[in-house]
Amino acid sequence: MKHQNIISLVHLDAYFGDKHIVKDVSLSVEEKSVVAIIGPSGCGKSTMLRCINRLHEEEPSAHVSGQILLNGNNILQNKIDPVEIRQKIGMVFQKPSAFPGLSIIENVMAGRLLKGEKKSNLLEKAELALKQSSLWDEVKDKLNSPGTSLSGGQQQRLCIARALAVDPDVILMDEPTSALDPISAARIEELILQIQEVTTVIIVTHNLQQAARVSNKTAFMNAGELVEFNSTTNLFTCPENKMTEAYITGQFS
């Protein structure tokens, strides 16, 4: 089956003030695939990710140039409202971020509920999202308990359910397991493989094994530049670039 590119970065540059963080990155992500972004700390992978849903611009000193195409449309145009983009491109953060003061079920519905939609119209969707994120069996008897009462791993799956509940084209994940214990992390990895059926995932990770386990393609970044973008198997078994090889064999980190 031939997949289309859902996201393409074209000569993307991102800055914080004078600091050039992401340097001329171009890459394309196929629909319903998982792309991992790896690289040493501070190489710009999180910043690049945050450009894709235009969260980068929330910082007062930040700016971006180049193009990001979502289904062929450049979403960096000024006339496009970032709020609209973020409804199509969801995000899961490093720290579990259940909204305080909202119940589990309200957290899942938050994307639509807090925009004024009726709770009763959203229940079905919320249940589906909880099932897709394999949290349903654990929470179905306590849907009205506070979302913050769940464990870290459960909250992270809740965040994935919350992102899925607005039917996004893409979900960005910024080191989603780095604050979790190994068992919870493994469940998130399983989940990433499952939700590939309904959406596209771009994941930033420090954990090379994780990148190898969950992704179809992997991008290696260093000092703001995209060094190598290849199928995960190729990148980890026979990298084309010497620097990639040095990184994945642990010669620098």
């Binding site: 983009i85 995000m91 953060f93 909204f99 509920l113 925009k115």
Partner: protein, 291 residues
């Protein structure tokens, strides 16, 4: 050093003694801090309880020399003043606090923060005199309007400051998670940040209420007082603290005991407002009642 050696065991013992001593000290100081509260409360209950009866809550003050009578008009007056003050101070205070925490580097925010800090340090009698010249003099009458405004001016900085401090505790990733969900900024601020901290914000409001409910000085020059029922917002209005003050400095024994009963009522009123607000705005209560 082995774990069974003599010096090790000695050091361990010494450490335990030190630890117990410090814990004892902390408990002792905490008890010392709580004692005044209970002494005040005990004193008020002992002196005030005897004069509390049905009449006290339902009747107007009796003319001088007659027994019985109550403070019903002052209780109602205080409730009117506090409600009026809250209606002004709570929305403005909470929104100012929101502005201070969400747009903290803004120029307007620094002016606002400075204003709030300054207002907080102005003595309440000065606020009273300010309202006196601003409202009482032009209207040529003491009034609930003036009294309520003075209390609002005292409440506002407390509400704004506590709201700001509480909202600042919301981690940045919660705000970003709201934005990343495709919610506009104002929705994130209201429905994620503010709602998440609503019970803490309400605690600040109750704190401010308790602070102004007992204010006497500014009311003396704004609401003044009245021995009848409060009839309109533009007339001199009775209030518990002023009534307590007037009765307490009088030479009459039965007025003294009524003042104690008034004090007990005032403290109980603040206590009840505190508990009721906490019940309504406890985290679970909120999500059940609002959605």
């Amino acid at each position: 050093m082995s774990r069974t050696s003599q010096p090790y065991l000695l050091a361990l013992k010494r450490r335990k003694i030190k630890n117990n001593f410090m814990i004892g000290l902390i408990v002792l100081l905490s008890v010392l801090a709580v004692i005044p509260l209970f002494m005040v409360f005990f004193h008020i209950v002992r002196n005030g309880f005897a004069s509390l009866n049905f009449d006290f809550f339902t009747k107007l003050p009796a003319p001088l020399g007659e027994p019985n009578g109550g403070m019903a008009n002052s209780i109602l007056g205080s409730l009117i003043l506090i409600t009026f003050a809250s209606l002004i101070a709570v929305p403005i205070g909470v929104l100012s606090g929101l502005y201070l925490s969400e747009y903290k580097n803004d120029r307007l925010a620094s002016v606002l923060r400075w204003t709030v800090d300054l207002l907080m340090s102005i003595p309440s009698i000065v606020i009273g005199l300010f309202i006196y010249t601003l409202i009482v003099l032009p209207m040529k009458s003491f009034s609930a309007l003036a009294g309520g405004s003075a209390l609002a001016l005292l409440m506002f900085p407390i509400v704004a400051k506590t709201t700001e401090e509480v909202l600042k505790l919301t981690p940045i990733h919660i705000r970003e998670a709201g934005l990343a969900l495709g919610l506009s900024r104002w929705r994130v601020i209201l429905f994620v940040v503010l709602r998440g901290k609503s019970s803490a914000v309400m605690t600040g409001v109750v704190l401010a209420l308790g602070r102004v409910a007992g204010e006497t000085a500014p009311l003396l020059v704004t609401a003044f007082g009245n021995r009848n029922w409060p009839k309109s917002l533009t007339e001199p209005t009775p209030s518990l603290p002023v009534q307590i003050y007037n009765y307490a400095i009088s030479p009459y024994e039965n007025w003294h005991s009524q003042a104690w009963a008034g004090a007990l009522t005032l403290v109980t009123l603040i206590f009840v407002i505190n508990i009721v607000t906490r019940l309504i705005f406890s985290k679970d209560g909120l999500s059940k009642s609002h959605l």
